[in-house]
Symmetry: D2
Subunit: 435 residues, 4 copies
């Protein structure tokens, strides 16, 4: 045992009335709800980067955190892995997720980087076996190194594409080896800083090629997890091609990949794209594209990616509504792509952040289940569209009538429809009743 | 002649040094530039709604304009048509565009509305013949009447869909009859006010059905103009399905319509969707979807659709760059979807607004032509991506190499790419040199 | 009794487990909490405009509501008053608020308008006596009529200022007569549409003069209620001078009025100004300027004023925290400046909206009381700043040390402070524990 | 001479038709305009931080720039100073501005930092004498070091306040010694990350005390330059107390400091606060608070501080309009708080960025002078408000009439004002005529 979390013990469920400073009040992993353990609904994961690699810097100030593994190369990476698995145990969460550069230091060449990754990958593999912890997903960091400043797959220089390909190959294979259930691509630099030096069509072709190569390689090595794209509208780039779910869907279709890839939807990214979180989930679900979730929240007044821990149970209830309606996230889960604030210097703060997040998710889940079990919400929705289930509605949707047919029918039948209340306030009350 | 524009005469090109309060300083319709008359590049159109039907109201105040044709039913509509064609002549612009309800009053039934439309349609047809003015596009207003409060094609009530179909049939046919070169669909209510009462997937199926019916009817009646969707992210709805170009593209592909429809891109709608105008044009052009433009600007500090007249020549130069690179707008044009402010009460203000817009477009066009003719801008762009034209780049794009092949190549060749300057500041200087 | 609310009966508190479609689940007006009846903490008010005068229009569509009092002049206004007091009873709320034009139709002249106002004012007075309902505040609508399109007090035309003065005099006097506890000024047109035609300094002088006249008149007639300014950053104007609390404070100080006026803070206006609601309350409270609240919420994705009913108990808990810490709102209260959506056509929707709002406020109030009574939150806050209570902190704040003294002390004492955790995640957990 | 700018020579004015890649096309420092040399109007300054200390990092990636002075401590700082003065000469700009940490490395203690600052300060002083370059302003970086993570003056720990005081004392004195014409305070951490751990009133008292100490010290040492606050709404903090000009003004008044301090207004900060740049200038000027400008632009689609070089001559023309109307900036100037993009790796990019900025400013200045000299714009503005210059307007503003007097007058004279056109489109045309 390291002494990083000295004095802190495993967080337990103690119920809403608990007076402990550090306890789960709502998240009770073994509680059965809607036929499953709560943990199996949520499938929560710890993000290696935010929790262990984040330094507390921001654009106007440097590192505030003082972690004993910083600036210590491979030895630091080993210590970091020790602490990480201690944390997984303390917070009592079954999954984690990582980028290559979170777990192992980059080398001067791809070869050297991959060697480092292999060393730490083996350690992580052993720890997983010992602890029973699982990998929700792996991913390659194709945005921090200066070589990627103008994109990885979409770089004007094909050698950068090649380097990125080499990097992804290694991480995808490690992910597979570790039993990872998903592989994620987030294209933070796949976009542009200025249109003035950018060929959008060319770059999209490159991006599609890259994605195709990854899918083919995954199939070749027998990886049966989900391939996920994580949409984000901008930041670090001025514009990113994976803007939101709808944009990603259009891109995938253009290149015939829409059956091979799903989305990993992040709360804060939805917000930055001008959408509610539930919107992105509803859209993705309706397109068969809802694969996994990056749980966090964005500060409502900040125009950049803040990655706060979720604290709004109502928002999460709507999220779980769409997830439950599609039968759950399958191989996906809720990865905490959330970080403690740069002023949250203490080891305990890492626990408080995740407790906040898990209790919020648990409340959301319970609310959604209650809403669905009550039944009135869904009934109202079905009633509203009932007209489309037969008669005129089915004739139209079924393609039986031409525009002229329909127009003739309006005239013949004197159709002059009167609006009906949308009942929004009643529905909002109904949702609040269960959250 | 009516006396609405009493004292005002046709606006003429007088050059940048003119001291007249009302003159074109840059827009010179017959000036040849890049092989075409300026007017033939821009193909400007007057929007009937903003120019003749707008009342000057806003959410906190009612009508400020005092037009003699308001509240006068069909007689008012006739007077309005008189004034409209006088305006087209005064401002010396070849095209106009309209919604059904702009030109003719709605009746109590679809039948009655269509009769009114027929009466005014005939008058407009005669005036077009006399004046040589042309119809850039027609469209049906499927959003103002309360029957459409929950959508037209996407309404939960199929009778509303039917009514809308009847309305579009009439306007599409009138557009065809008048020689309209495009037909536009803007789905201001095709979206939702709250997800709580909305089935997104169901509504998108309805919307696709509607669009398909329109396309089929257009083909049946021999309409060879462009069918255009006008993207807008929100307002009046909280969320609209035609959010932006990329979203529209995904929707069209899903239903196999991407070859049948293009986009009419509005400056202010791009801004409200979190994009620059040039972004939307570049995306649309790269997808073969750039059909026409709604020229205006959005106030940069207002979070709603302001429809100011364009005043930024630099922005328009970038727009024309993409338009010229794709060989122009074809049957499309620049429709002034712009309105004078509600404090701009005078008839002369209508002229000043359009002069501002046309002079801005003319400066933009000239800037773009100069930028292209200079050649350095395009050369820099081509040079930046030159690596993709052969060797490794072509092997990758051409599908010759698998992920493993590429990774092996990185190792074998010791590929370790160094970044090159993106030269953004130089490019911005270069653009400003010509604007 | 009118039949507007036919079939609906008074909304009662039934507790969280109630299955009734229409009941208070949290708002229990007579429940004692923190030493007062819940109603006396919240002092809720119904906004006459949104509830009875709103037509359901938006910038892209007209009226959707079908109220029997619309378009019926003074007779309609009488019917509206009947329905209003029926509603106050059904929803069981003690206060209401109004603009002159909400209750009585405008006439062709100020005189005529004031006569109408007098007629309806008398009726309202009688109904107040009969029902025991009270007036939270009155206000004059100085923004809807076209005469105010360029401002009321800040109009370039002094006659418009004069007209506005006459209007305010009448409403202020009626407010006083009806025992109104506050008088509100919201300057929706006191700003500009374009700086190009605006003299900011001149307009601010006019605005200060107007406010001074109102204050003097209030004193003269013995009105002892609060005079409140309601900040809003924009809409309908591009920019409004009462941008936010801090801006209003600077304006008041410049003209020596900061002791005479407080703020009426609206949730949605805070959001549109780039602030959280609790920020505006905290700022106002720290300046002694927190007078009253306009309860609503803004849609998080819409860039305009949406006036939804509040549904976020967590947000309201933070609001009540600041209110309770300053000893309550005094003569102020929570006015529901919230409207049912334009698709919410039914009379019942008006009740559902207000129930949503009141239950949300009740949950917020209870959460804030629990947070304060628990004590840890305030203790942490006090501890964090404890260094300022004595020693160096007091020497600095007390003005005992010059810059040079302090610098010398840093050197002499080797001061080299180490940061301490800000504990944000723990605090967020703590708040969520009580909400 | 260092070889950093090898191959680059001094940028010269060559006029708009120049084909050189690197030349001033509009900025001609000695050109007389409106009675002064262009350079004396603009008083341009180079920001030491962006131009020499920026590393090209962003929240998702590290350093991209490869400067020979990075990571080299005091020796690096000397080399940096060499290069800086070479740049001032190459770009031919008379002023510069700096933070302490830009020019000299921080030490482990305040003492050590100040010693480093002294060493480099002396070198800079010599170089200023040799070159004739001048210091527009100095400032202390009270935000990057982790000790300031929770604020400097507003820190909960008075020792941090003390440390900051010691730091400012040193920089203020050096600024004075070097003949600096202004001293700037930008409070990037004077705000909060979460209200939950913040006492706003307490922090504002601290901030006012700090400012007072600085003012007193400046007076004591005989510094006669301007003390400037630079407003910014947020970033790095969630909320900063110096939100915008109006907020700063209220703060200064509260503590009786409004005569002692002016504002340094940054284009991008205005935008992030929801204002146009010209708005902030107009407000500041009307309050006597317009002291200096930080010239840049914010990307219109990015929600964070992007510090692009200015490229919009129209925006700058409106800025110069307000500056010229108040008789210029006095001791202030235009500091380029702008940075080359992180992909702009080359030394030449630093020149291109500043050329873009200076040419844009020169065009703006010329446009504003032409607009003013033409006279019509100001005449229209004066005419619009002419009613306030006598008669009723003067009686109202002069305080001769009470509210009751005015109301009586409206009735007696039958005042019923009719709105007049605001002529916005004409005014926009007029401005464009000169830009």
């Amino acid at each position: 045992m390291t002494d990083f979390f000295k004095g802190l013990s495993q967080v337990k469920f103690e119920g809403p009335q608990s007076r402990s400073p550090l306890a789960y009040r709502h998240y009770n992993k073994d509680e059965m709800i809607a036929g499953k353990r709560m943990e199996d609904h949520i499938r929560p994961a710890i993000a290696y980067w935010h929790t262990f690699a984040q330094e507390g810097g921001d654009p106007f100030g440097g590192r505030t955190f003082d972690r004993p593994w910083f600036d210590k190369g491979l030895e630091g990476a080993k210590l970091k892995a020790e602490v990480a698995f201690e944390f997984f145990d303390l917070i009592d969460v079954p999954f984690f997720a990582f980028h290559d550069v979170d777990v192992a230091p980059e080398g001067a060449t791809l070869d050297e980087s991959n060697k480092n990754l292999r060393v730490i990958g083996d350690i992580i593999g052993q720890k997983m076996q010992q602890s029973g912890k699982k990998l929700l997903w792996g991913t390659a960091n194709l945005f921090s190194n200066r070589r990627y400043m103008a994109g990885a797959a979409t770089n004007p220089d094909p050698e950068v594409f090649a380097y990125a390909a080499g990097q992804v190959k290694a991480v995808l294979e490690l992910t597979h080896e570790l039993g990872g259930e998903n592989y994620v691509l987030w294209g933070g630099r796949e976009g542009y800083e200025t249109l003035l030096n950018t060929k959008i069509g060319q770059e999209q072709d490159q991006m599609a090629r890259f994605l195709t190569l990854v899918i083919e390689h995954a199939e070749k090595i027998g990886f049966t997890g989900q391939i996920l794209i994580e949409p984000k509208p901008q930041e670090p780039s001025k514009h990113q091609y994976d803007y939101d779910v709808a944009t990603v869907y259009g891109f995938l279709q253009k290149y015939g990949l829409e059956k091979k890839v799903k989305c990993n939807i992040e709360v804060g990214h939805a917000f930055l794209a001008g959408h509610s979180f539930e919107h992105e989930l509803a859209v993705a679900s309706s397109l068969g594209m809802l694969g996994s979730v990056d749980a966090n929240r964005n500060d409502l007044q900040s125009g950049w990616d803040t990655d706060h821990f979720p604290n709004n149970a109502g928002e999460m209830a709507l999220a779980f509504y769409y997830i439950l309606k599609q039968g759950g996230l399958g191989k996906g889960g809720f990865n905490f792509d959330a970080k403690v604030r740069r002023q949250s210097l203490d080891a305990a703060d890492l626990l408080h952040g995740h407790v906040l997040g898990l209790d919020t998710l648990a409340r959301g889940l319970k609310g959604a289940v209650a809403l669905i079990e009550d039944g009135e919400f869904d009934k109202l929705l079905d009633d509203r569209y009932a007209g489309w289930d037969n008669g005129l509605g089915q004739d139209i949707l079924g393609g039986k009538l031409s525009l002229a047919d329909i127009a003739a029918k309006v005239q013949a039948d004197g159709i002059n429809p009167q609006p009906r209340s949308g009942r929004q306030e009643y529905l909002e009350n109904l949702v609040n009743r269960f959250v």
